[in-house]
């Protein structure tokens, strides 16, 4: 583990645990609190799979970043540059990522139908279009659910969202909800300010009330509340919270990732994955460029993205983590090839690109192709569920997995998407 474990000042962890054990704290015996301290740091060092999603809120114009069309009327002013991967080009304003492209794969043949922000956001996070009768779990919930067992000593939530909150756990339940933090890693209200003995007493009283209410069969949300209480107590006393303290990184690293919200978020994602967290989403908003898209991309969005994403990929590779850690870059959709009257691009889902890398993915390749004006996918087109199936496969998650939605309906993982075969050797 790269960061040292420190006890919260003034609190003896062992002391606290002893008290809490006596109180037989919360509702589910399977998550007996005391188990977690038995897991020591060596467990955490074992290799584990993880995924980091870089979510570009608003819908980034992928044809200005990963699939340039120089000279086409739709092409815009940016020029492609060659990269560390043979035959792969990216935008000239992504010079740092250009040096990392041998680790990554660009899928230029995404074709989806959801071009409304909320619908697209849901669809790209879950592989399902919104349906009034069922809430589907997002990437983070599915992956945390499937991979949480590999790090039994993990006390911090297995699904962390840095920034705007991701999409929820759907029918998998609040246990798998994203834990949302800001990019400075501050977790609010972490300290109760009472001694451990007293906290244990409070928890015993609380557990008594919770149990009674749950026993009255009023609905699942009563039970969910108790489960989240259990997790919160673990978190409050966990030395693993150290992973959020991104400001403790050397100045050099902070500089390399960029002193931006997204830069700190990516750096935190690396620390969290090192700690054993199986899924981290880092959000970068501001891609809804209906007007003045090119100056906005060139001067703001792309430099911020380029610095942070390249530093993350480079670090993961240098630390030998990339084989087990998938990095994916996407938004809810992309932007129209046609440039509108305001010098912007509008919503477009029919032909666009995402980027993946690490895990079991083939590296340094481009998958698929769009037409010369960028308006059509001219190779086999891929959907959100295909991408999700591919990410799961690259993490070693079985695509045979079937969940049971709350209504008893079986739900195939990744909505039965088919693996994008060109992404695998």
């Amino acid at each position: 583990m790269s960061c040292s474990i420190e006890l919260p000042a003034g609190m003896s962890r062992r002391h606290f645990i002893n008290h809490l054990a006596g109180a037989a704290a919360l509702v589910s015996p399977a998550t007996a609190f005391t188990n977690s301290i038995l897991a020591n740091a060596t467990d955490m060092k074992k290799r584990h799979k993880a995924a980091i999603m870089l979510w570009m809120g608003g819908g980034p114009s992928s044809m200005d970043i990963w699939d340039l069309k120089p000279g086409a009327p739709t092409g815009g002013p940016f020029k492609p540059i060659s990269t560390s991967a043979d035959g792969v080009t990216v935008c000239e304003h992504m010079p740092l990522m250009a040096k990392q492209m041998h680790h990554m794969a660009v899928v230029r043949s995404m074709s989806t139908r959801e071009a409304d922000h909320m619908r697209g956001r849901y669809y790209m996070h879950t592989g399902y279009v919104p349906n009034p009768n069922v809430e589907h779990p997002s990437y983070g919930a599915v992956i945390a659910h499937e991979l949480a067992d590999q790090v039994p000593g993990l006390e911090i939530p297995p699904f962390v969202s840095v920034g705007s909150g991701s999409v929820g756990p759907g029918f998998l339940g609040m246990t798998w909800a994203p834990f949302v933090v800001d990019s400075n890693g501050n977790v609010r209200n972490l300290d109760m300010g009472v001694d451990p003995a007293r906290l244990a007493q409070r928890m015993e009283m609380l557990a008594t009330i919770e149990k009674r209410f749950i026993g009255e069969r009023r609905g699942a949300s009563a039970d969910d509340h108790a489960k989240v209480l259990d997790k919160t107590v673990k978190l409050m006393t966990s030395p693993q919270m150290e992973a959020f303290k991104v400001m403790k990184e050397p100045a050099e690293a902070q500089e390399r990732y960029g002193k931006t919200g997204f830069g700190r978020g990516c750096l935190m994602a690396r620390r969290l994955v090192e700690m054993g967290v199986p899924f981290v989403e880092v959000d970068l908003g501001g891609w809804d460029n209906h007007a003045n898209i090119f100056p906005t991309l060139q001067n703001q969005k792309l430099p911020e993205l380029d610095k942070a994403m390249s530093a993350l990929v480079e670090d993961l590779a240098d630390r030998g983590m990339l084989d087990d850690t998938v990095v994916m870059w996407m938004g809810e959709f992309s932007r129209t090839p046609n440039i509108n009257g305001g010098g912007g691009r509008d919503h477009w889902a029919r032909s666009w690109s995402v980027v993946v890398g690490g895990g079991g993915f083939k590296r340094g390749v481009v998958v698929g192709e769009t037409s010369s004006d960028g308006k059509e996918v001219v190779s086999e087109a891929y959907s959100s569920q295909d991408l999700m199936a591919s990410v799961l496969k690259s993490l070693g998650v079985s695509l045979e997995t079937t969940f049971t939605a709350k209504n008893g309906r079986p739900m195939q993982i990744a909505n039965s998407g088919k693996v994008i075969k060109e992404l695998f050797a």
């Binding site: 608003g58 922000h117 909320m118 949302v180 007293r198 007493q201 015993e204 749950i214 989240v228 919160t232």
Partner: protein
């Protein structure tokens, strides 16, 4: 139906005969701690009778039996939360419990909807409608939240008819901030002031989408760019509706700094994108790049004048021109979707689930669970001159609202959280909104409510802002982390609000309870009544007594721990 319960047998129209065991148990239990009278009572209100019959018909058709009635304490708590946004105080609760009148529920509802509670009623519905109209995001500089709230508070204080309310919001003009140096303040402008412009293009796209969504239950935002893939929405309909907003401009006033200080919403003659104000058109782009023309046409196909001129009179006395937004408001008011959308929203507010999910998406693609009831209630709402308090009264006095949230063997499959269509056989759990928690904590701790008004509202806004997540889109989409996740629990465990609520300072709530002459058991009971509207169960009293004993003479510290636990419980934060 009452007869069915009385003889213990309930005949079900699907041909089976079920023993009304649950109903029997309900009646027996009712004698002990719940109301002993019929939960299907309609208090002489025909609309309540209608709701009861319609919902019961749904039970019959699906072979479900309703749960027994909620206890009086539970009902009292939920009706306070849903009508005035906070739990009942101990005094309010005790006086309701002590009342033996068979019509005490109707009387409590009349009180809560009456003059005594008008400020609280207005505050609660201001909270609800602020979120509906402008979301929770406090960063939109073109929206003046305080101006919005002032408008809403006034509207709900006088129970403005809902059609008038809609008209004022849809046609609002004036200055959005209430400042001494500005003339023409109209807080209602804040509904649209932040929705006229996107990325420097003033096209009223968000105004169109939100107006249709909120007042017609019509989701048109997708059809801005293309025909809707699975409802009947067509792209031309979006832009024809949008054309109603093209006389409207949101003028940003900077008052000497770079920041927008206020917005003035005005209507001006619209010259049309083709330059002919007699037929003032707009153009929109099809997916294939072709441009098409649009004039104002309502969603049901009603056309209005194509003129872009505002109403005026020529020198010779001929009147010309049209006020497009006023026309729009009139068309909305006449639409059958208008009362349906608000009935569905209100039903969802009180019963935990609307007839459709989401509540603001009506249409053939998303059929409601109780179509007849939705239509029937909408008609009755129109007949009652769009009186929101009457609508609320019907719903909270209805049979489904009176039911326990405890499911029984005879209705456990009625669970909309499992994707089933709601049958309302029992009261569905839902978490308090952040605003309701805030106010409930003030009530539970008998906090001094002297500090009211704008200052208090700002303090509350600051507290609420910790939960807001903005998604970084132009549409200002947002969500809340006040959703039962870890950050919420951390706030409830350790946040300043809870530290204050569980404070032991002199003269505070815990201090007053601890230093009273009550027995320790009575003190603990006071905490339970204050927060949960019930007495502690035996097991709870045992644990609490142990804590008091362990603290020797330090009763207040023990009470503080009990109080902390009570406030952190599922039972406190979940409306049940």
């Amino acid at each position: 139906m009452r007869d069915g319960v009385r003889d213990g047998v309930r005949r079900i129209s699907c041909g089976r005969v079920l023993l009304g065991v649950a109903g029997m148990i309900g009646m027996v239990a009712a004698a002990g701690r719940a109301t002993a009278y019929d939960p299907a009572e309609h208090y002489g209100i025909p609309q309540v009778k209608y709701i009861n019959e319609q919902v019961a018909k749904g039970w019959d058709e699906s072979c479900l039996l309703p749960s027994p009635a909620a206890t009086d304490g539970e009902w009292c708590r939920r009706v306070h939360l849903d009508l005035i946004g906070r739990i009942p105080s101990i005094d309010e609760l005790r006086s309701f419990l002590a009342d033996t009148s068979p019509t005490k529920k109707a009387e409590l509802v009349s009180q809560l909807l009456g003059d005594d509670h008008v400020d609280e009623y207005a505050r609660h519905w201001t909270d609800v409608w602020t979120t509906v109209l402008i979301g929770r995001d406090v960063t939109n500089e073109r929206v003046n939240r305080s101006g919005m709230r002032q408008y809403l508070r006034r509207a709900f204080s006088k129970n403005m008819p809902y059609d008038r309310f809609m008209e004022e919001l849809v046609t609002a003009a004036g200055v959005n901030a209430n400042r001494r140096e500005l003339e023409g303040f109209n807080g209602a402008t804040n509904f649209l002031s932040g929705k006229m412009e996107e990325m420097g293009v003033e096209n009223g796209v968000q105004a169109t989408a939100k107006t249709a969504q909120i007042f017609l239950g019509l989701q048109v935002q997708c059809t801005q760019c293309h025909n809707h893939p699975f409802n009947k929405g067509k792209q031309n309909q979006f832009w024809e509706l949008n054309a109603f907003f093209r006389q409207t401009r949101a003028l940003r006033k900077r008052g000497g700094t770079d920041d927008v200080q206020w917005v003035e919403l005005v209507d001006e003659d619209f010259a049309g994108e083709g330059g002919n104000p007699e037929e003032a058109e707009l153009y929109y782009e099809l997916r294939n790049g072709l441009m098409k023309v649009a004039y104002p046409v309502f969603v049901d196909g009603t056309e209005i004048s194509k003129s872009g001129y505002l109403p005026a009179v020529m020198d010779d006395g001929t009147a010309y021109g049209v006020h497009r937004r006023e026309q729009l408001a009139a068309l909305i008011k006449a639409s059958p979707s208008f009362p349906q959308a608000i009935v569905n929203r209100t039903w969802g507010h009180f019963l935990g689930h609307g007839f459709t999910k989401p509540i603001d998406d009506l249409g053939e693609h998303n059929p409601p669970s109780h179509p007849e009831l939705l239509e029937g209630l909408a008609e009755r709402f129109r007949e009652t001159s769009f009186d929101l308090k009457e609508l609320a009264r019907w719903l909270v006095l209805s049979h489904p609202y009176a039911l326990s949230s405890r499911s029984t063997a005879a209705n456990k499959n009625d669970d909309p959280s499992l994707g089933e269509r709601p049958k309302f056989t029992h009261f569905y759990l839902r978490q308090m909104q952040a605003e309701e928690l805030y106010e409930s904590l003030l009530t539970a701790t008998e906090a001094d409510r002297a500090a009211r008004g704008e200052e208090a509202a700002k303090k509350k806004d600051t507290w609420l802002s910790q939960f807001v997540i903005a998604f970084g889109t132009d549409e200002g989409d947002d969500a809340t982390t006040f959703n039962g996740s870890i950050p919420q629990v951390l706030m409830m465990f350790n946040g300043d609000m809870i530290k204050n609520a569980t404070g032991t300072g002199q003269g505070g709530f815990l201090d007053r309870v601890a230093s009273s002459s009550m027995s320790n058991a009575a003190k603990i009971e006071t905490l339970y009544m204050a927060a949960l509207a019930r007495k502690p169960a035996r097991a709870e009293l045992t644990v609490a007594n142990q804590m008091v004993a362990a603290r020797k003479g330090d009763v207040i510290t023990a009470l503080q721990d009990v109080w902390w636990a009570v406030l952190n419980s599922n039972e406190f934060i979940i409306k049940h």
